[in-house]
Amino acid sequence: MERSIKVRLFGTLRLKFRPWEMEVPLTSPMKLRDLLDLLEEKYPGLKETLLSDGELRKGVIILKGGQNVWHLKGLETEISPGDTIVIFPPGAGG
Protein backbone atom coordinates (compact mmCIF):
# COMPACT_ATOMS: atom_id res chain seq x y z
CA MET A 1 0.00 0.00 0.00
CA GLU A 2 1.32 3.42 -1.00
CA ARG A 3 2.14 5.69 1.92
CA SER A 4 3.57 8.70 0.15
CA ILE A 5 3.31 10.97 -2.91
CA LYS A 6 6.06 12.23 -5.21
CA VAL A 7 6.46 15.94 -5.89
CA ARG A 8 8.68 17.04 -8.76
CA LEU A 9 9.62 20.60 -9.67
CA PHE A 10 10.78 21.57 -13.16
CA GLY A 11 11.66 24.63 -15.21
CA THR A 12 12.57 27.92 -13.61
CA LEU A 13 11.16 26.72 -10.26
CA ARG A 14 14.44 24.85 -9.99
CA LEU A 15 16.27 28.16 -9.80
CA LYS A 16 14.41 28.99 -6.55
CA PHE A 17 13.61 25.73 -4.81
CA ARG A 18 15.51 22.59 -3.82
CA PRO A 19 15.39 19.65 -3.70
CA TRP A 20 13.64 19.27 -7.05
CA GLU A 21 12.15 15.93 -6.13
CA MET A 22 10.58 15.03 -2.84
CA GLU A 23 8.64 12.13 -1.41
CA VAL A 24 5.97 13.36 0.99
CA PRO A 25 4.51 10.86 3.50
CA LEU A 26 0.76 10.60 2.99
CA THR A 27 -1.47 7.84 4.28
CA SER A 28 -4.88 9.30 3.43
CA PRO A 29 -6.15 11.65 0.68
CA MET A 30 -5.82 15.41 1.10
CA LYS A 31 -6.77 18.45 -0.97
CA LEU A 32 -4.15 20.12 -3.17
CA ARG A 33 -4.67 23.28 -1.10
CA ASP A 34 -3.58 21.41 2.03
CA LEU A 35 -0.69 19.78 0.24
CA LEU A 36 0.60 23.22 -0.74
CA ASP A 37 0.48 24.24 2.93
CA LEU A 38 2.55 21.17 3.71
CA LEU A 39 5.00 21.89 0.89
CA GLU A 40 5.42 25.49 2.06
CA GLU A 41 7.22 24.15 5.11
CA LYS A 42 9.69 22.35 2.89
CA TYR A 43 9.83 25.00 0.13
CA PRO A 44 9.42 28.41 1.80
CA GLY A 45 7.94 30.81 -0.76
CA LEU A 46 6.37 28.13 -2.94
CA LYS A 47 2.82 29.13 -2.05
CA GLU A 48 3.43 32.72 -3.03
CA THR A 49 4.81 31.47 -6.35
CA LEU A 50 1.78 29.24 -7.01
CA LEU A 51 -1.08 31.21 -5.46
CA SER A 52 -2.49 34.69 -5.78
CA ASP A 53 -5.24 35.80 -3.37
CA GLY A 54 -5.64 32.19 -2.32
CA GLU A 55 -6.27 30.93 -5.86
CA LEU A 56 -4.02 29.21 -8.38
CA ARG A 57 -1.77 31.77 -10.02
CA LYS A 58 -1.53 31.74 -13.81
CA GLY A 59 1.76 30.79 -15.40
CA VAL A 60 2.55 27.61 -13.48
CA ILE A 61 1.17 24.19 -14.37
CA ILE A 62 0.40 21.55 -11.76
CA LEU A 63 -0.12 18.05 -13.12
CA LYS A 64 -1.57 15.26 -11.03
CA GLY A 65 -1.07 11.91 -12.72
CA GLY A 66 -0.45 13.73 -16.03
CA GLN A 67 -3.61 15.83 -15.83
CA ASN A 68 -3.69 19.58 -15.34
CA VAL A 69 -5.43 20.37 -12.05
CA TRP A 70 -7.26 23.24 -13.79
CA HIS A 71 -9.33 20.45 -15.38
CA LEU A 72 -9.80 18.62 -12.11
CA LYS A 73 -10.96 20.58 -9.10
CA GLY A 74 -8.18 23.14 -8.90
CA LEU A 75 -7.04 23.60 -5.33
CA GLU A 76 -9.78 21.22 -4.20
CA THR A 77 -8.28 18.38 -6.27
CA GLU A 78 -7.84 15.31 -4.14
CA ILE A 79 -4.30 14.04 -3.80
CA SER A 80 -3.99 10.38 -2.83
CA PRO A 81 -1.10 8.23 -1.66
CA GLY A 82 0.78 7.01 -4.74
CA ASP A 83 0.12 10.17 -6.80
CA THR A 84 2.88 12.04 -8.61
CA ILE A 85 2.57 15.83 -8.67
CA VAL A 86 4.58 17.72 -11.30
CA ILE A 87 4.85 21.50 -10.96
CA PHE A 88 6.45 23.64 -13.67
CA PRO A 89 6.13 26.92 -15.55
CA PRO A 90 6.14 25.85 -19.22
CA GLY A 91 8.33 27.79 -21.64
CA ALA A 92 6.46 29.90 -24.18
CA GLY A 93 9.55 31.04 -26.03
CA GLY A 94 10.54 29.82 -29.44
Binding site: R8, G11, T12, K58, L63, G66, V86, P90, G94
Partner: protein
Protein backbone atom coordinates in the same frame (compact mmCIF):
# COMPACT_ATOMS: atom_id res chain seq x y z
CA UNK B 1 28.36 10.00 -52.61
CA UNK B 2 25.15 11.86 -52.07
CA UNK B 3 23.91 14.21 -49.37
CA UNK B 4 22.42 11.34 -47.39
CA UNK B 5 25.38 8.94 -47.51
CA UNK B 6 25.93 9.20 -43.74
CA UNK B 7 22.30 8.29 -43.06
CA UNK B 8 22.54 5.16 -45.18
CA UNK B 9 21.14 2.19 -43.29
CA UNK B 10 19.36 4.32 -40.70
CA UNK B 11 16.11 4.39 -42.67
CA UNK B 12 14.42 1.44 -44.35
CA UNK B 13 13.38 1.98 -48.00
CA UNK B 14 9.78 2.31 -46.80
CA UNK B 15 10.70 4.89 -44.19
CA UNK B 16 12.78 6.81 -46.70
CA UNK B 17 9.87 6.88 -49.11
CA UNK B 18 7.62 8.23 -46.36
CA UNK B 19 10.15 10.91 -45.51
CA UNK B 20 10.51 12.03 -49.12
CA UNK B 21 6.72 12.16 -49.47
CA UNK B 22 6.21 14.21 -46.30
CA UNK B 23 5.61 17.93 -46.08
CA UNK B 24 6.01 19.61 -42.71
CA UNK B 25 4.56 22.96 -41.71
CA UNK B 26 7.02 24.79 -39.44
CA UNK B 27 5.21 27.63 -37.68
CA UNK B 28 7.67 30.11 -36.23
CA UNK B 29 11.19 30.56 -37.58
CA UNK B 30 12.95 31.86 -34.48
CA UNK B 31 15.45 29.93 -32.39
CA UNK B 32 13.53 26.66 -32.42
CA UNK B 33 12.10 26.89 -35.92
CA UNK B 34 15.53 27.64 -37.39
CA UNK B 35 16.98 24.39 -36.10
CA UNK B 36 13.84 22.44 -36.99
CA UNK B 37 13.60 23.72 -40.57
CA UNK B 38 17.28 23.22 -41.30
CA UNK B 39 17.32 19.83 -39.59
CA UNK B 40 14.35 18.55 -41.55
CA UNK B 41 15.84 19.85 -44.79
CA UNK B 42 19.19 18.15 -44.17
CA UNK B 43 17.45 14.95 -43.01
CA UNK B 44 15.68 14.57 -46.34
CA UNK B 45 12.08 15.57 -45.71
CA UNK B 46 10.34 16.15 -49.03
CA UNK B 47 8.69 19.49 -48.40
CA UNK B 48 8.47 22.37 -45.96
CA UNK B 49 5.98 25.17 -45.48
CA UNK B 50 7.70 27.94 -43.54
CA UNK B 51 5.42 30.36 -41.69
CA UNK B 52 6.61 33.55 -39.98
CA UNK B 53 5.75 37.22 -40.40
CA UNK B 54 8.82 38.59 -38.63
CA UNK B 55 11.97 40.16 -40.04
CA UNK B 56 15.57 39.32 -39.07
CA UNK B 57 17.06 41.61 -36.40
CA UNK B 58 20.41 41.63 -34.51
CA UNK B 59 19.20 39.87 -31.30
CA UNK B 60 18.26 36.85 -33.43
CA UNK B 61 21.83 35.98 -34.32
CA UNK B 62 22.81 34.39 -30.97
CA UNK B 63 20.71 31.33 -31.82
CA UNK B 64 18.73 31.55 -35.06
CA UNK B 65 21.04 29.57 -37.33
CA UNK B 66 19.24 30.31 -40.58
CA UNK B 67 20.28 33.98 -40.57
CA UNK B 68 23.43 36.09 -40.81
CA UNK B 69 24.25 39.78 -40.50
CA UNK B 70 23.62 40.09 -44.25
CA UNK B 71 19.94 39.30 -43.70
CA UNK B 72 18.99 42.19 -41.39
CA UNK B 73 15.51 43.52 -42.14
CA UNK B 74 14.56 40.71 -44.51
CA UNK B 75 11.58 38.46 -43.84
CA UNK B 76 12.72 35.32 -42.01
CA UNK B 77 10.56 32.98 -44.07
CA UNK B 78 12.11 34.24 -47.31
CA UNK B 79 15.69 34.11 -45.99
CA UNK B 80 15.04 30.61 -44.65
CA UNK B 81 13.72 29.43 -47.99
CA UNK B 82 16.74 30.83 -49.85
CA UNK B 83 19.18 29.19 -47.41
CA UNK B 84 17.49 25.80 -47.43
CA UNK B 85 17.43 25.72 -51.23
CA UNK B 86 21.20 26.29 -51.18
CA UNK B 87 21.49 23.13 -49.06
CA UNK B 88 19.05 21.10 -51.16
CA UNK B 89 17.77 22.28 -54.50
CA UNK B 90 15.28 19.37 -54.63
CA UNK B 91 13.43 20.58 -51.50
CA UNK B 92 9.83 21.64 -52.12
CA UNK B 93 9.55 24.75 -49.97
CA UNK B 94 7.12 27.60 -49.60
CA UNK B 95 7.73 30.76 -47.57
CA UNK B 96 4.60 32.26 -46.10
CA UNK B 97 5.09 35.72 -44.63
CA UNK B 98 1.93 35.99 -42.60
CA UNK B 99 0.59 35.95 -39.07
CA UNK B 100 -1.19 32.85 -37.85
CA UNK B 101 -4.91 33.54 -37.42
CA UNK B 102 -7.89 31.24 -36.77
CA UNK B 103 -9.01 31.54 -40.42
CA UNK B 104 -5.71 30.08 -41.64
CA UNK B 105 -6.08 26.78 -43.48
CA UNK B 106 -3.41 24.11 -43.23
CA UNK B 107 -2.73 22.91 -46.79
CA UNK B 108 -3.86 19.37 -47.55
CA UNK B 109 -0.35 18.31 -48.59
CA UNK B 110 1.00 19.05 -45.09
CA UNK B 111 1.59 15.77 -43.22
CA UNK B 112 2.51 17.18 -39.82
CA UNK B 113 2.67 20.52 -38.00
CA UNK B 114 5.51 21.86 -35.85
CA UNK B 115 4.75 24.49 -33.22
CA UNK B 116 7.89 26.60 -32.87
CA UNK B 117 5.96 29.79 -32.11
CA UNK B 118 6.76 32.22 -29.30
CA UNK B 119 3.46 32.91 -27.57
CA UNK B 120 0.61 30.83 -26.15
CA UNK B 121 -2.23 32.48 -28.03
CA UNK B 122 -0.73 31.60 -31.42
CA UNK B 123 0.28 28.16 -30.21
CA UNK B 124 -3.32 27.39 -29.20
CA UNK B 125 -4.63 28.66 -32.54
CA UNK B 126 -2.14 26.45 -34.38
CA UNK B 127 -3.16 23.44 -32.32
CA UNK B 128 -6.84 24.11 -33.07
CA UNK B 129 -5.99 24.21 -36.78
CA UNK B 130 -3.90 21.02 -36.61
CA UNK B 131 -6.74 19.25 -34.80
CA UNK B 132 -9.29 20.46 -37.34
CA UNK B 133 -7.05 19.23 -40.16
CA UNK B 134 -6.47 15.87 -38.44
CA UNK B 135 -2.68 16.36 -38.25
CA UNK B 136 -0.17 15.58 -35.52
CA UNK B 137 1.25 18.63 -33.78
CA UNK B 138 4.80 18.59 -32.41
CA UNK B 139 5.09 21.33 -29.80
CA UNK B 140 8.24 22.78 -28.28
CA UNK B 141 8.71 25.77 -26.02
CA UNK B 142 11.54 27.20 -23.97
CA UNK B 143 12.52 29.65 -21.32
CA UNK B 144 16.17 30.17 -20.45
CA UNK B 145 17.87 26.77 -20.09
CA UNK B 146 14.53 24.96 -19.67
CA UNK B 147 12.01 23.70 -22.18
CA UNK B 148 9.48 21.09 -23.17
CA UNK B 149 8.56 18.95 -26.17
CA UNK B 150 5.21 17.23 -26.67
CA UNK B 151 3.37 15.63 -29.56
CA UNK B 152 -0.40 15.66 -29.82
CA UNK B 153 -2.24 13.34 -32.17
CA UNK B 154 -5.77 14.08 -33.40
CA UNK B 155 -7.07 11.99 -30.46
CA UNK B 156 -4.90 13.63 -27.78
CA UNK B 157 -5.96 16.19 -25.20
CA UNK B 158 -5.42 19.59 -26.81
CA UNK B 159 -2.60 22.00 -26.09
CA UNK B 160 -4.88 24.51 -24.35
CA UNK B 161 -6.01 21.72 -21.99
CA UNK B 162 -2.51 20.51 -21.20
CA UNK B 163 -1.26 24.04 -20.61
CA UNK B 164 -4.43 25.51 -19.08
CA UNK B 165 -3.49 28.32 -16.73
CA UNK B 166 -0.48 29.63 -18.65
CA UNK B 167 -0.15 33.32 -19.22
CA UNK B 168 1.72 35.39 -21.75
CA UNK B 169 4.96 36.87 -20.49
CA UNK B 170 5.90 40.41 -21.34
CA UNK B 171 8.98 41.10 -23.40
CA UNK B 172 11.32 38.67 -25.13
CA UNK B 173 12.07 35.54 -23.10
CA UNK B 174 15.68 34.57 -22.41
CA UNK B 175 16.87 32.08 -25.04
CA UNK B 176 20.27 30.58 -25.73
CA UNK B 177 21.82 28.76 -28.66
CA UNK B 178 22.08 25.54 -26.63
CA UNK B 179 18.44 25.19 -25.58
CA UNK B 180 17.30 25.97 -29.13
CA UNK B 181 19.75 23.40 -30.54
CA UNK B 182 18.72 20.69 -28.06
CA UNK B 183 14.97 21.21 -28.38
CA UNK B 184 15.22 21.79 -32.14
CA UNK B 185 17.13 18.52 -32.53
CA UNK B 186 14.56 16.69 -30.43
CA UNK B 187 11.74 18.07 -32.57
CA UNK B 188 13.51 16.95 -35.76
CA UNK B 189 13.94 13.47 -34.32
CA UNK B 190 10.30 13.45 -33.24
CA UNK B 191 9.07 14.46 -36.70
CA UNK B 192 11.18 11.74 -38.31
CA UNK B 193 9.78 9.15 -35.87
CA UNK B 194 6.18 10.11 -36.59
CA UNK B 195 6.59 10.39 -40.34
CA UNK B 196 8.37 7.02 -40.45
CA UNK B 197 5.84 5.43 -38.09
CA UNK B 198 8.49 4.48 -35.57
CA UNK B 199 7.92 3.68 -31.90
CA UNK B 200 9.07 5.89 -29.08
CA UNK B 201 7.48 9.13 -30.18
CA UNK B 202 6.35 11.68 -27.61
CA UNK B 203 2.64 11.36 -28.38
CA UNK B 204 0.85 12.29 -25.12
CA UNK B 205 4.20 12.28 -23.35
CA UNK B 206 5.57 15.58 -22.11
CA UNK B 207 9.35 15.72 -22.26
CA UNK B 208 10.78 18.28 -19.81
CA UNK B 209 14.34 19.40 -20.46
CA UNK B 210 16.69 21.04 -17.95
CA UNK B 211 20.07 22.05 -19.34
CA UNK B 212 21.31 23.20 -15.91
CA UNK B 213 21.42 19.57 -14.73
CA UNK B 214 20.97 17.72 -18.06
CA UNK B 215 17.79 16.19 -16.64
CA UNK B 216 15.36 14.86 -19.25
CA UNK B 217 12.07 13.72 -17.77
CA UNK B 218 9.04 12.29 -19.54
CA UNK B 219 5.63 12.86 -17.92
CA UNK B 220 2.89 10.70 -19.47
CA UNK B 221 -0.30 12.72 -19.93
CA UNK B 222 -3.69 11.40 -18.92
CA UNK B 223 -6.13 11.14 -21.83
Amino acid sequence: MNLYARQHGLFSPEEWARLKAATVLVAGLGGLGSFVAEGLCRSGVGGLVLLDDDRVSPPDLNRQILYTADDMGRFKAQVAKDRLLKIRDDLWVEAWVQRLTPDFTIPARVSLVVDALDNWESRFVLDDLAFKAGKHLVHAGLKGPFGQVLTLSPSSPRLREVFAGVEEESGPLPATFSICAVLGGLVVEEVLKIVCGREGALVDRLLLVDLTTYDFEIVPLAR
